[in-house]
Protein backbone atom coordinates (compact mmCIF):
# COMPACT_ATOMS: atom_id res chain seq x y z
CA UNK A 1 0.00 0.00 0.00
CA UNK A 2 2.74 2.44 0.95
CA UNK A 3 4.73 1.58 -2.17
CA UNK A 4 1.69 2.32 -4.33
CA UNK A 5 1.24 5.60 -2.52
CA UNK A 6 4.91 6.47 -3.08
CA UNK A 7 4.50 5.57 -6.77
CA UNK A 8 1.49 7.91 -7.01
CA UNK A 9 3.52 10.71 -5.46
CA UNK A 10 6.34 9.90 -7.92
CA UNK A 11 3.90 10.12 -10.85
CA UNK A 12 2.52 13.46 -9.72
CA UNK A 13 5.86 15.00 -8.80
CA UNK A 14 8.90 12.85 -9.71
CA UNK A 15 10.79 11.77 -6.64
CA UNK A 16 14.55 12.29 -6.64
CA UNK A 17 16.51 9.10 -7.18
CA UNK A 18 19.39 7.93 -5.07
CA UNK A 19 22.07 5.72 -6.58
CA UNK A 20 22.63 2.24 -5.20
CA UNK A 21 24.76 1.45 -8.14
CA UNK A 22 27.57 -0.79 -9.06
CA UNK A 23 29.60 0.34 -11.96
CA UNK A 24 27.30 0.65 -14.96
CA UNK A 25 26.62 -1.70 -16.69
CA UNK A 26 26.40 -3.50 -13.38
CA UNK A 27 28.84 -6.36 -13.03
CA UNK A 28 29.90 -6.38 -16.67
CA UNK A 29 33.66 -6.13 -16.95
CA UNK A 30 35.80 -7.73 -19.63
CA UNK A 31 39.36 -7.01 -20.76
CA UNK A 32 38.48 -8.10 -24.29
CA UNK A 33 38.21 -4.53 -25.59
CA UNK A 34 41.69 -3.82 -24.26
CA UNK A 35 43.01 -6.87 -26.12
CA UNK A 36 41.28 -5.76 -29.32
CA UNK A 37 42.81 -2.32 -28.85
CA UNK A 38 46.32 -3.75 -28.45
CA UNK A 39 45.86 -5.99 -31.50
CA UNK A 40 44.73 -3.00 -33.52
CA UNK A 41 47.86 -1.08 -32.55
CA UNK A 42 49.98 -3.95 -33.89
CA UNK A 43 47.92 -4.05 -37.07
CA UNK A 44 48.31 -0.30 -37.63
CA UNK A 45 52.09 -0.52 -37.19
CA UNK A 46 52.16 -3.33 -39.78
CA UNK A 47 50.04 -1.30 -42.21
CA UNK A 48 52.24 1.76 -41.74
CA UNK A 49 55.40 -0.21 -42.46
CA UNK A 50 53.81 -1.85 -45.48
CA UNK A 51 52.66 1.50 -46.82
CA UNK A 52 56.16 2.95 -46.57
CA UNK A 53 57.65 -0.07 -48.31
CA UNK A 54 55.16 -0.40 -51.14
CA UNK A 55 53.60 2.97 -51.87
CA UNK A 56 54.60 4.49 -55.18
CA UNK A 57 51.52 6.50 -56.10
CA UNK A 58 50.32 10.00 -55.33
CA UNK A 59 51.84 11.64 -52.27
CA UNK A 60 48.46 12.85 -51.14
CA UNK A 61 47.13 9.29 -51.06
CA UNK A 62 50.14 8.22 -49.05
CA UNK A 63 49.60 10.94 -46.49
CA UNK A 64 45.88 10.26 -46.31
CA UNK A 65 46.42 6.55 -45.63
CA UNK A 66 49.23 7.18 -43.17
CA UNK A 67 47.17 9.75 -41.29
CA UNK A 68 44.33 7.29 -40.97
CA UNK A 69 46.64 4.57 -39.63
CA UNK A 70 48.20 6.96 -37.12
CA UNK A 71 44.76 8.13 -36.00
CA UNK A 72 43.49 4.59 -35.46
CA UNK A 73 46.68 3.61 -33.65
CA UNK A 74 46.32 6.60 -31.32
CA UNK A 75 42.68 5.84 -30.67
CA UNK A 76 43.17 2.16 -29.92
CA UNK A 77 46.23 2.61 -27.71
CA UNK A 78 44.11 5.02 -25.68
CA UNK A 79 41.15 2.63 -25.73
CA UNK A 80 43.40 -0.08 -24.29
CA UNK A 81 44.53 2.21 -21.50
CA UNK A 82 40.97 3.32 -20.79
CA UNK A 83 39.56 -0.22 -20.57
CA UNK A 84 42.31 -1.35 -18.21
CA UNK A 85 41.88 1.76 -16.05
CA UNK A 86 38.15 1.11 -15.67
CA UNK A 87 38.64 -2.50 -14.55
CA UNK A 88 41.51 -1.51 -12.30
CA UNK A 89 39.68 1.44 -10.75
CA UNK A 90 36.17 0.02 -10.45
CA UNK A 91 36.47 -3.75 -10.25
CA UNK A 92 39.82 -4.44 -8.59
CA UNK A 93 39.63 -4.27 -4.81
CA UNK A 94 42.30 -4.33 -2.09
CA UNK A 95 41.77 -8.05 -1.54
CA UNK A 96 42.60 -8.71 -5.21
CA UNK A 97 45.82 -6.71 -4.94
CA UNK A 98 46.79 -8.70 -1.85
CA UNK A 99 46.19 -11.87 -3.86
CA UNK A 100 47.99 -10.54 -6.95
CA UNK A 101 50.58 -8.04 -5.66
CA UNK A 102 51.89 -7.47 -9.17
CA UNK A 103 48.58 -5.85 -10.25
CA UNK A 104 49.41 -2.18 -9.65
CA UNK A 105 52.79 -2.55 -11.32
CA UNK A 106 51.25 -4.37 -14.25
CA UNK A 107 48.61 -1.67 -14.77
CA UNK A 108 51.29 1.01 -14.62
CA UNK A 109 53.30 -0.94 -17.19
CA UNK A 110 50.25 -1.06 -19.50
CA UNK A 111 49.77 2.69 -19.14
CA UNK A 112 53.39 3.31 -20.09
CA UNK A 113 53.38 0.86 -22.97
CA UNK A 114 50.11 2.35 -24.24
CA UNK A 115 51.70 5.79 -24.28
CA UNK A 116 54.85 4.51 -25.94
CA UNK A 117 52.73 2.74 -28.56
CA UNK A 118 51.16 6.10 -29.39
CA UNK A 119 54.50 7.90 -29.53
CA UNK A 120 56.33 5.37 -31.70
CA UNK A 121 55.85 2.89 -34.52
CA UNK A 122 57.85 0.24 -32.72
CA UNK A 123 56.30 -3.20 -33.28
CA UNK A 124 58.10 -4.63 -30.25
CA UNK A 125 56.36 -2.04 -28.06
CA UNK A 126 52.99 -2.94 -29.56
CA UNK A 127 53.67 -6.63 -28.89
CA UNK A 128 54.76 -5.85 -25.32
CA UNK A 129 51.50 -3.94 -24.82
CA UNK A 130 49.47 -6.96 -25.94
CA UNK A 131 51.58 -9.24 -23.76
CA UNK A 132 50.95 -7.10 -20.67
CA UNK A 133 47.22 -6.85 -21.41
CA UNK A 134 47.06 -10.63 -21.82
CA UNK A 135 48.71 -11.03 -18.43
CA UNK A 136 46.15 -8.64 -16.93
CA UNK A 137 43.33 -10.61 -18.60
CA UNK A 138 44.59 -13.86 -17.07
CA UNK A 139 44.57 -12.33 -13.59
CA UNK A 140 41.15 -10.77 -14.18
CA UNK A 141 39.60 -14.10 -15.17
CA UNK A 142 41.31 -15.89 -12.28
CA UNK A 143 39.67 -13.37 -9.93
CA UNK A 144 36.35 -14.13 -11.62
CA UNK A 145 37.00 -17.86 -11.09
CA UNK A 146 37.20 -18.64 -14.81
CA UNK A 147 39.83 -20.71 -16.56
CA UNK A 148 41.55 -19.07 -19.50
CA UNK A 149 43.26 -20.25 -22.63
CA UNK A 150 45.54 -18.63 -25.18
CA UNK A 151 44.33 -18.76 -28.76
CA UNK A 152 45.57 -17.30 -32.02
CA UNK A 153 43.60 -14.17 -32.80
CA UNK A 154 41.38 -14.82 -35.83
CA UNK A 155 42.29 -11.51 -37.46
CA UNK A 156 44.92 -10.07 -39.79
CA UNK A 157 47.13 -9.94 -36.72
CA UNK A 158 47.24 -13.49 -35.42
CA UNK A 159 49.08 -12.97 -32.15
CA UNK A 160 48.02 -15.01 -29.13
CA UNK A 161 45.24 -13.58 -27.01
CA UNK A 162 43.80 -14.66 -23.66
CA UNK A 163 40.14 -15.66 -23.65
CA UNK A 164 37.98 -17.15 -20.89
CA UNK A 165 37.36 -20.87 -21.28
CA UNK A 166 33.57 -20.66 -20.83
Amino acid sequence: MFHKLAQKIDQIKPVETVEAHCDIPCGIYDPHQAIIGALTVIRMVDLMEKLVETHSGEKVEFHNSMARYVSVKEEHAELTKHEIRVIWGDFIKDAHVEQYPQLHGLVHKIMQLGSKARQTTDRETALALLDAVNEFAEIFWQIKGKETKRVKAPYSVSEEIVVPDL
Binding site: V15, C22, C26, G89
Partner: protein
Protein backbone atom coordinates in the same frame (compact mmCIF):
# COMPACT_ATOMS: atom_id res chain seq x y z
CA UNK B 1 13.19 17.22 7.92
CA UNK B 2 12.06 14.14 6.00
CA UNK B 3 12.50 13.31 2.36
CA UNK B 4 11.17 10.61 0.02
CA UNK B 5 13.70 9.10 -2.40
CA UNK B 6 13.55 6.34 -5.02
CA UNK B 7 16.34 3.76 -5.35
CA UNK B 8 18.10 3.17 -8.62
CA UNK B 9 20.68 0.40 -9.04
CA UNK B 10 21.42 -2.96 -7.50
CA UNK B 11 24.33 -2.28 -5.20
CA UNK B 12 22.27 -3.06 -2.08
CA UNK B 13 20.33 -6.01 -3.55
CA UNK B 14 18.60 -8.00 -2.08
CA UNK B 15 18.16 -5.71 0.95
CA UNK B 16 17.09 -2.81 -1.23
CA UNK B 17 15.81 -3.25 -4.78
CA UNK B 18 15.67 -0.85 -7.68
CA UNK B 19 12.31 0.90 -7.52
CA UNK B 20 12.00 0.71 -3.73
CA UNK B 21 11.40 3.98 -1.93
CA UNK B 22 13.04 5.21 1.25
CA UNK B 23 12.24 8.01 3.62
CA UNK B 24 15.29 9.66 5.09
CA UNK B 25 15.64 11.88 8.10
CA UNK B 26 17.74 14.78 7.00
CA UNK B 27 20.93 15.57 8.84
CA UNK B 28 21.19 16.43 11.73
CA UNK B 29 18.99 13.56 12.81
CA UNK B 30 16.22 14.01 15.34
CA UNK B 31 17.29 10.96 17.28
CA UNK B 32 20.50 9.09 17.59
CA UNK B 33 23.74 9.08 15.69
CA UNK B 34 24.85 7.02 12.74
CA UNK B 35 25.84 3.50 13.68
CA UNK B 36 27.24 0.51 11.83
CA UNK B 37 24.38 -1.15 9.97
CA UNK B 38 22.53 2.10 9.30
CA UNK B 39 21.77 2.98 5.69
CA UNK B 40 22.77 6.51 4.77
CA UNK B 41 22.36 8.82 1.81
CA UNK B 42 25.27 11.04 0.90
CA UNK B 43 26.82 13.17 -1.84
CA UNK B 44 30.29 11.82 -2.41
CA UNK B 45 32.37 14.31 -4.41
CA UNK B 46 32.87 13.00 -7.93
CA UNK B 47 30.00 10.54 -7.57
CA UNK B 48 26.25 10.79 -7.57
CA UNK B 49 23.76 11.02 -4.75
CA UNK B 50 24.38 7.62 -3.21
CA UNK B 51 22.84 5.23 -0.72
CA UNK B 52 24.97 2.64 1.14
CA UNK B 53 25.12 0.75 4.39
CA UNK B 54 27.54 1.88 7.08
CA UNK B 55 30.05 -0.83 7.81
CA UNK B 56 32.19 1.01 10.30
CA UNK B 57 32.17 4.31 12.13
CA UNK B 58 35.54 6.02 11.96
CA UNK B 59 37.22 8.97 13.63
CA UNK B 60 34.67 9.38 16.45
CA UNK B 61 31.75 9.65 14.03
CA UNK B 62 33.34 12.10 11.64
CA UNK B 63 33.72 9.55 8.83
CA UNK B 64 32.06 6.32 7.76
CA UNK B 65 33.16 3.24 5.87
CA UNK B 66 30.24 2.27 3.62
CA UNK B 67 29.52 -0.85 1.60
CA UNK B 68 27.14 -2.19 -1.00
CA UNK B 69 26.27 -5.86 -1.06
CA UNK B 70 27.80 -6.70 -4.44
CA UNK B 71 31.41 -7.49 -5.30
CA UNK B 72 31.41 -4.63 -7.79
CA UNK B 73 29.44 -2.16 -5.71
CA UNK B 74 30.82 1.34 -5.88
CA UNK B 75 31.52 2.12 -2.24
CA UNK B 76 34.31 3.01 0.22
CA UNK B 77 36.53 0.47 -1.51
CA UNK B 78 36.52 2.91 -4.43
CA UNK B 79 36.22 6.35 -2.87
CA UNK B 80 37.33 5.83 0.74
CA UNK B 81 35.41 6.83 3.86
CA UNK B 82 32.42 9.16 3.62
CA UNK B 83 32.86 12.39 5.55
CA UNK B 84 30.05 13.40 7.91
CA UNK B 85 29.68 16.71 6.06
CA UNK B 86 28.70 14.89 2.86
CA UNK B 87 25.83 12.98 4.48
CA UNK B 88 22.33 14.04 3.46
CA UNK B 89 20.38 11.78 5.75
CA UNK B 90 19.69 8.41 7.27
CA UNK B 91 17.07 5.94 6.09
CA UNK B 92 14.29 5.67 8.65
CA UNK B 93 11.67 3.93 6.51
CA UNK B 94 12.17 1.44 3.69
CA UNK B 95 9.10 1.19 1.44
CA UNK B 96 9.49 -2.11 -0.40
CA UNK B 97 7.87 -3.29 -3.58
CA UNK B 98 5.55 -6.26 -3.19
Amino acid sequence: MFRLLKIRGHSLFPDFREGDFVVIARFPFPAGQIRAGDVIVFDQPGYEHMIKRVQQVLDDGRAFEVRGTQIDSTDSRNFGPVSKRHITGKVIWHIRQK
